[in-house]
């Protein structure tokens, strides 16, 4: 690998990552607003965005803390939302597994939905890339988004405390969740998992410590996996 080709892979990553600013900017701003409205100070709000870098998990943690769930439940639910990253991590092993440890530490910190999807597409399109170029592309795809994520969280946090309650900002959080959720319902398996999740969460709402949600999540994951197997057996899973 030469540094020139790595540099061009890095720039290609940046170019491919730029369009995702249109998602990251409003999303991070909204997080800043919602977290401030929920009573977190600016430092805490920034702590979420800098240490977690995962919109859905951050919103989930805020929601659970507003609900006064016990600490362990808050952590479990936020991490459950981020569990899909384990799947991304596994999928990246064939491409990036042989990179030096410090690079794998760095790229794990900035691994999220968009740069994962972009990078796997790129690696499939250009299998001749060296590991160094692959790492460079991956970090490039994250480069525009990370500063925007931090910066717009700060903007949201500064603006958020000045918005009066008539604006019904309480509902920004459920709307954001539904907006993440709806496009993710791509198959019958996803749909049934979502239906089971809602039904079980309402049925088990009587359980203490928000445990009902964890029960619902496990049942829903099993439902999704079993539906997928069933569709596969009938030759209807692509």
């Amino acid at each position: 690998m030469t540094s020139t080709t790595s540099k061009s892979a890095y720039w290609r990553g940046i170019r491919n990552g730029l369009p995702f600013l249109f998602v990251a900017i409003p999303f991070a701003t909204l997080f800043g607003v919602v977290a401030t409205e929920a009573g977190f100070n600016i430092l805490e709000t920034m702590g979420f965005s800098v240490l977690i870098i995962g919109g859905a998990a951050q919103f989930a943690a805020v929601q659970q803390m507003v609900d006064n769930s016990p600490t362990l439940i808050v952590i479990a639910i936020a991490l459950a939302v981020n569990l899909r990253m384990a799947m991304y991590s596994a999928a990246l092993v064939p491409y990036l597994g042989s990179a030096p440890l410090w690079q794998r530490v760095l790229l794990s910190y900035v691994l999220f939905d968009q740069n994962y999807a972009l990078s796997v597409l790129e690696y499939e399109k250009r299998p001749e890339m060296s590991v160094g170029e692959k790492v460079a592309f991956f970090v490039g795809a994250a480069t525009p988004i990370i500063p925007a994520w931090y910066g717009m969280t700060l903007v949201g946090a500064l603006v958020g405390s000045q918005i009066p309650p008539e604006y019904a900002l309480d509902f920004a959080l459920p709307i954001t969740f539904l907006s993440i959720l709806a496009p993710a319902i791509r198959t019958l398996a996803h749909l049934l998992a979502a239906v089971v999740s809602v039904t079980a969460a309402l049925i088990f709402a009587f359980l203490p410590f928000n445990l009902g949600l964890l029960v619902a999540a496990v049942l829903a994951m099993i439902t999704g996996a079993q539906t997928e197997l069933w569709l596969e057996r009938r030759g209807k899973w692509t």
Binding site: V23, P26, A38, E44, G47, F48, I52, I53, A56, A60, A61, Q63, M65, T71, V74, I75, A78, A80, V81, R84, M85, A86, M87, Y88, S89, A90, L92, V93, P94, L96, R104, L107, S108, A168, D170, F171, P174, I175, L178, I180, L181, A182, H190, A193, A194, V195, S197, A200, A201, L202, A205, G212, L213, A216, A217, L219, M221, T223, G224, A225
Partner: protein, 112 residues
Amino acid sequence: MDMNSSETWIVIVAIGIGSFLIRFSFVGLIGDRKLPDWVLRHLRYTPVAVIPGMVAPLVLWPPATGGEPDLARLLAAGAALTIGYVTKNVLASIFAGVGTLYLALYTLNILG
């Protein structure tokens, strides 16, 4: 929210470390070993398994109205879901939801 500042930081740091370990898990620690299919099959459904259950009570019994079902919020949730499902676009869905919420709050207020 009852949590004090040090509890808040414990939660933030724990989720941060946990999220990092999840991301680092395979590419960093486990290396070239492959995940069994049944594990991947379950992981695929984590977002659609957790989020609906979390949102349903907030939509049906919003804390801001003292837990009373609220027409404007129900309409907004329906719009966000429908537009998100049809367009597969997160931002379009957020705008549809927020737009419907304000339109409905404003209209219901006038009819009031």
